[in-house]
């Protein structure tokens, strides 16, 4: 199979489309971030990469708190909007009609309409070139009650957005189940021992 080099491309699949929140000058603001992920379990950690000039980053630096909100497909317009305009010029909360709530940290704004919300304390802000890499500790996780099944979060009700680049920049939904994790690989173990 022939390979083609693409040079310095940040090309991975899938990427999330999270709404990262912070209070900037005491007002809640949110921006879309695809460059984010979980970074540890004990304590639970998350990373978010933001350009140095982002208005949201200013708020994270002010309070050392932030939020990661997981939007559903129903919030595709709001998610896209928050990635295309700066909070320095617009009250995105008002335009998007986000209902904002706060947890124990008091300064990490959370979006009620998003089915999953992580309330985070920023521990480190690393300069990695064009971006600041925020390493945060998850202090609390919130899930919308109508997205639970038997008390557990249910991805079929959460309906997360997936951000995909190349060839086009699109939001996609989750598709068909390919297989069960921690199970389907056992078929190779059996082959190996047979």
């Amino acid at each position: 199979m022939a390979k083609v080099t693409m040079e310095l491309k940040t090309l991975v699949y899938p990427m999330p489309a999270f709404l990262v929140g912070a209070n900037v000058d005491d007002k809640p603001n949110f921006m879309t971030a695809a460059w984010s992920g979980i970074a540890g379990s004990t304590p639970p950690m998350v990373t978010v990469a933001l350009r140095h000039n982002r208005y949201t980053l200013k708020g994270i630096q002010q309070n050392m708190t932030f939020s990661v909100n997981v939007p559903s497909v129903d919030l595709v317009k709001e998610t896209d909007y928050c990635g295309t305009i700066s909070g320095a010029r617009t009250d995105k909360v008002e335009v998007c009609q986000f209902k904002v709530f706060y947890g124990e940290l008091g300064s990490a704004p959370l979006i009620e309409q998003c089915p999953v919300n992580l309330e985070c304390k920023a521990l480190h802000i690393l300069d990695v070139g064009s971006h600041a890499l925020i390493v945060g500790r998850i202090e609390e996780t919130y899930v919308s009650e109508n997205c639970l099944t038997d008390g557990e979060p249910d991805v079929d009700k959460i309906k997360p957005l997936i951000y995909v680049t190349q060839p086009a920049r699109l939001y996609q939904a989750l598709g068909e189940v390919v297989g069960p994790a921690y199970k389907i690989g056992r078929e190779l173990t059996s082959a190996e021992t047979s």
Copy 2:
């Protein structure tokens, strides 16, 4: 909308299912990692979170190089297998019949069967508790020629795996297009200015 607290849960959607590679004692090894993402564009950066005792981490520490390989749905068994067994006990490359190639770095093993491969230099290894957070610079990106359309990577040919937890741990495929990024949000801008 009522919210339920889940305490310290690492709950986000979607997560990737990458195969992270390193040479351990000069032999290629790969493990599955869902806690990984892009972290910057100039230079292109990526993060991967691995438990401190992982065999793959030993290799990253030895060479300060690693790879991030994006598997397609066709590689679901191999991807799952590499997340359930340690390279200390098994030659996963042999079991999975991975064809391994190397780039300029010479010590970051890449999987030919994976449609997208990032060849990385580890710049920082942060201790974030249970996990080591590896911050790497992408030195080269490879795409399988048969996953290109008009010279550009094509997600419909790449067919990436998505890892989902809660309620069940599953691999899923990409689903339907929800909307175009940097475009669908404009409908809110129009509403705002009208």
